[in-house]
């Protein structure tokens, strides 16, 4: 059964239920040694990023639910560990191509909350002056080059960015972040083949959240693991617990170093779960209750918090302080955005072409 690495006894009518087996951001005491492999500052930074991502998502969810905030949103809640690992492994000049489910990735790469919320809420202070919307946030100054609303559309562009880095002789790395569903597109295949062929400085980072929109991933591919596809392109494929920030830092570091050294791309499959479904408001009727319960139990943010405290790396008080700072940052950003002017109607007339005179009437 796909998504089940080691166990052939799972009932076939519970798709994806065991996808998280052994991939639970474990708080097992044995993990204390792994945690010790991280510098204390790195562990702390991971938690800061993860709690900021979670808080930003929670606040949006609360605001949309109450009617306070009017926007569309594809929640990243549950996938924070992956983006936090990227955040601590990438340099600011490294580049990212992500997707509509990108709040966590954007925060991880350093995009400011005012730019993100501003874009989601159609304000002039948004990353794209409010014209792009939730799905299309870019912030080239911190390396976020593109967020795509089309599944699979990002990897080919990431190939071009990586070609540019290679041609310029720069040692920057490009990460293409996408979901499991994207790996079934022709665009992904074309891009992966090209990236391997030309040894491009690219990391193909798949956030396998076990569902392609409303369809279980194992109903969409014959092979068990996305990472196995790498062999078909002649690149390494690694499967990692996408809820374990420590394992992720190790895997992302290896892939990034490989790319930076000119040894070509890696396909990194990070197995995780979307705790709020495909879109905000998704009733998630297609997700078995036991699977959702298991995934909630494996919440990467709460697990990492318990692990940090349990190992003695941080005190609960330290983490409370970090949490409070995240809430303050989110509230301050949201207040700034809500006080900012809405995107002006005149913005429509700009940026269709470099020169507006080229626009047909």
């Amino acid at each position: 059964m796909a998504g089940t690495p080691n166990d052939s006894t799972d009932p076939p009518d519970q798709p994806g239920l065991t996808g998280l087996t052994g991939l639970t951001g474990s708080s097992d005491p044995d993990d204390r040694d792994d945690l010790a492999s991280l510098a204390p500052a790195t562990a702390r930074r991971l938690y800061e990023l993860m709690t900021l991502m979670k808080t930003a998502d929670d606040r949006l969810s609360r605001g949309i639910s109450s009617g306070e905030l009017l926007t569309v949103y594809w929640p990243s809640r549950g996938q924070e560990a992956i983006a936090a690992a990227m955040g601590v492994c990438l340099r600011s000049d490294d580049q990212l191509v992500t997707t509509y489910r990108g709040l966590h990735d954007l925060i991880g790469k350093g995009v400011g909350l005012v730019e993100i919320y501003g874009e989601m809420l159609g304000r002039q202070v948004g990353a794209s002056r409010g014209k792009g919307g939730t799905m299309h946030i870019a912030s080239p100054g911190v390396g976020v080059m593109l967020s795509t609303g089309i599944v699979g559309a990002g990897p080919p562009v990431a190939v071009g960015l990586a070609m540019a880095a290679q041609r310029l002789g720069l040692d920057r790395v490009v990460v293409a972040s996408f979901g499991d569903g994207a790996t079934n597109t022709g665009s992904f295949h074309e891009a992966a083949n090209m990236a391997a062929l030309w040894d491009l400085p690219l990391v193909l980072l798949c956030q396998n959240n076990l569902y392609a929109e409303m369809t279980p991933t194992e109903h969409t591919m014959k092979i068990e693991h996305v990472a196995d596809r790498a062999a078909g392109y002649g690149m390494p494929g690694t499967r990692v617990d996408g809820n374990d920030p420590v394992a992720l830092v190790s895997a992302v570091t290896e892939a990034v170093e490989r790319a930076r050294a000119g040894r070509g791309p890696t396909l990194l499959e990070c197995v995780t779960f979307r705790l709020r479904g495909h879109y905000f408001g998704d009733p998630m009727a297609y997700i078995p209750a036991e699977q959702l319960a298991a995934a909630t139990e494996a919440d990467p943010v709460l697990r990492f918090r318990a692990r940090l405290v349990g190992s003695g790396a941080c005190t609960a008080g330290d983490l409370d302080t970090i949490d409070a700072a995240a809430v303050a940052s989110v509230e301050e950003a949201l207040a700034t955005v809500l006080a900012a002017p809405p995107t002006a109607l005149t913005e429509i007339d700009h940026d269709v072409y470099a020169d507006a005179r080229n626009c047909p009437a």
């Binding site: 794209s128 080239p140 559309a153 562009v157 071009g160 960015l161 891009a191 083949n193 072409y353 047909p360």
Partner: protein, 336 residues
């Protein structure tokens, strides 16, 4: 020189003058290259003239990514019918990047593609799909009809700040004409050119069909009818002023193109001209275009669907029929 040589010269000079320019596509490097790119990889190396796998989406996507990082890539989609594979990259990424990011990013790419109509290659290797891309805000659509225009327009496209789709009609590849050798020679986008002046009717055309329109104008001249041939050269941006200038004088227009007529470029052109010149026109605007069928492979059948001299002449005569002349509503009363 031929149009192929003119295109080659434009690419050669662009590669020579600007390190940011590189070419990518299928079979564009030597020894497999034929056509405009032949010889360029030998001169500039296979990093700047790069053979790719048969991966149209990734060819255009890679061009977009490289352009976002400061390059001026020229991607080749071998035949326009294959562009559907890359349509998502063109329509959802290249066209919209500048707008969706509030000007923070853009994709100044050029996509060259050959229009194969007229070679008996059948329905999937022959289409003129320019209307698809005219419909997408953010893209520019260019198609030359002469070697001179081919060089001047391609040079402009490569250094233009917006994504450009550059159509090369393969049946014009061998056409000869004078071409300026100056690397700085460039033709601005959005400037139509009168290829033949006339006074009785304007044939509005572009690409391969311009040649047919010029032949039709010759034929009409023997009957004492003076047809002006206006070559649009770029469909987006569209030179509305030139159309209005010409048709404002001749007061009759026939639009001629190789793309399918129904919902084709001529529909937009006709709508614009009638809006601008409603009170001036002496007859409804006629359109001569490809028939609404998949291109048949046999030569006799295929040639029957495209604009021919006979069809163009017949359309012109339709605009000249006395009963087409508008009556003066102040004298005849308003009908209906």
């Amino acid at each position: 020189m031929t149009m192929t040589e003119a295109l080659h010269l434009a690419l050669d000079q662009a590669l020579e003058r600007d390190e940011r320019v590189f070419l990518l596509g299928e079979d564009i490097a030597d020894p497999g290259a034929s056509g405009p790119t032949a010889g360029l990889s030998t001169r500039y190396g296979t990093q700047r003239v790069l053979d790719t796998p048969i991966s149209e989406a990734a060819i255009v996507g890679a061009a977009i990514g490289a352009a976002m990082a400061g390059f001026r890539p020229v991607a080749e989609i071998m035949i326009m019918d294959f562009i559907g594979i890359a349509a998502d990259q063109l329509v959802n990424n290249a066209a919209k990047l500048r707008f969706m990011t509030g000007g923070r990013t853009s994709a100044p790419i050029t996509v060259r593609t050959q229009v194969y109509g007229g070679l008996s290659t059948g329905a999937t290797h022959s289409q003129s799909l320019e209307a698809w891309f005219m419909h997408i805000p953010g893209l520019k659509v260019i198609t030359p009809a002469t070697p001179r225009d081919a060089k001047g327009l391609l040079t402009t496209a490569i250094f233009d700040d917006d994504p450009c789709i550059f159509l090369e009609p393969i049946r014009l590849r061998g056409q000869r004409g004078m071409v300026p050798l100056d690397p700085a020679f460039a033709i601005p986008l959005g400037e139509a050119e009168v290829k033949r002046p006339g006074t009785d009717v304007t044939l509005i055309s572009y690409g391969r069909a311009v040649v047919e329109a010029l032949k039709a104008a010759d034929r009409l001249a023997t009957d004492g009818i003076s047809a002006e041939v206006l070559d649009l050269r770029t469909l987006v941006p569209l030179d509305v002023a030139a159309m209005v200038r010409s048709v404002g004088r001749t007061r009759r227009a026939v639009v001629v193109h190789d793309a399918v007529g129904f919902a084709g470029p001529g529909a937009e052109i006709t709508a614009i001209v009638q809006r601008e010149l409603f009170g001036t026109l002496l007859a409804p605007i006629e359109r001569v275009a490809a028939r609404f069928v998949p291109n048949p492979a046999p030569a006799a059948l295929e040639s029957s669907i495209y604009p021919s001299v006979e069809r163009i002449v017949a359309a012109v005569r339709q605009t000249l029929r006395p009963d087409q002349a508008r009556s003066d509503p102040t004298k005849a009363g308003i009908r209906g």
